[in-house]
C-alpha cells in the first residue's frame, strides 16, 4: 500500500498547523496513487514525524513517499529530514521510504505560481 507523508515545520500559531492538517484532508479526498495520506511536523506541535510514520506503517503502508512542505531548503530540509528518513528506514526495514525534494524546488513551481496569479485576478 502506498502512502504520502506531508512534512511541515509546525508553528506556534494553531491556525497555521490546521492549514497543514486541512491540506492533508484534501489530499485524502483526491484520486491518487496513495491509499494513505497523513502529515507530520518537525517542531512545536503534533503529530511529530516519527509518530506519523508509525501510524502509516501500522495502517499497512509498504511504500511511503515523503514530501517536505517547505518553500526553502533551510536546515530543517537539508539536515533534519535526511536524519528522520534514516531513522524511519532503520525502524521499518520492510518499508520503502522516498524523500522528495522540498516543494519550493519543484520544477513546476513557476507554472503553479502563474496558474494561481491568473486564477485569482
Amino acid at each position: 500500500m502506498k502512502a504520502l507523508l506531508l512534512i511541515a515545520h509546525g508553528s506556534r500559531k494553531v491556525s497555521s498547523n490546521q492549514e497543514v492538517a486541512d491540506l492533508a484532508d484534501k489530499l485524502k479526498q483526491q484520486t491518487s496513487p496513495f491509499a494513505l495520506v497523513t502529515h507530520g511536523f518537525l517542531e512545536l506541535t503534533s503529530p511529530k514525524v516519527p509518530d506519523a510514520v508509525a501510524k502509516l506503517v501500522e495502517e499497512g503502508a509498504k511504500e511511503v513517499t515523503i514530501l517536505p512542505y517547505f518553500l526553502a531548503a533551510g536546515m530543517h530540509v537539508t539536515e533534519d529530514l535526511p536524519e528522520l528518513l534514516s531513522e524511519a528506514k532503520a525502524n521499518y526495514p520492510q518499508v520503502t521510504f522516498t524523500l522528495l525534494e522540498h516543494l519550493g524546488a519543484a520544477d513546476l513551481m513557476p507554472s503553479w505560481i502563474l496558474q494561481q496569479a491568473a486564477r485569482d485576478k
Copy 2:
C-alpha cells in the same frame, strides 16, 4: 503594463534567498500575462518589498499582482502584507495593486502536491 511581485519572508541563509531570486528569474522566462516580474523580501535581505514595488512602477507597471510566497498565514501574511499593500496604494495611486492569498491557500495546492509526488517517484 502588468507586473507580478513575488513576496517571500527572507532568510539568513543566502541560498534560501537565492531560491526566491531564481524562481523570479524562471517566472520571467515563462509566457505569461506579466510583462514584468520581480521579487521582494519582508526581512533580513534585500530587495525589500517597497523597493521592489518602486522598481516595478519605474519600469512602467500599471497593474501589480502580489503573490505571497508563503505556505502558512502567519503574522507576516495577515498583518505585514496588508500594511505594505496600503502603503503601495498610497504611494502610487495611479497603479492598481492586487494582493492574492498566500500560496499555501491555493485551491490547487492538493493537485500540485500530487503532481509533484507522482513526478519524482
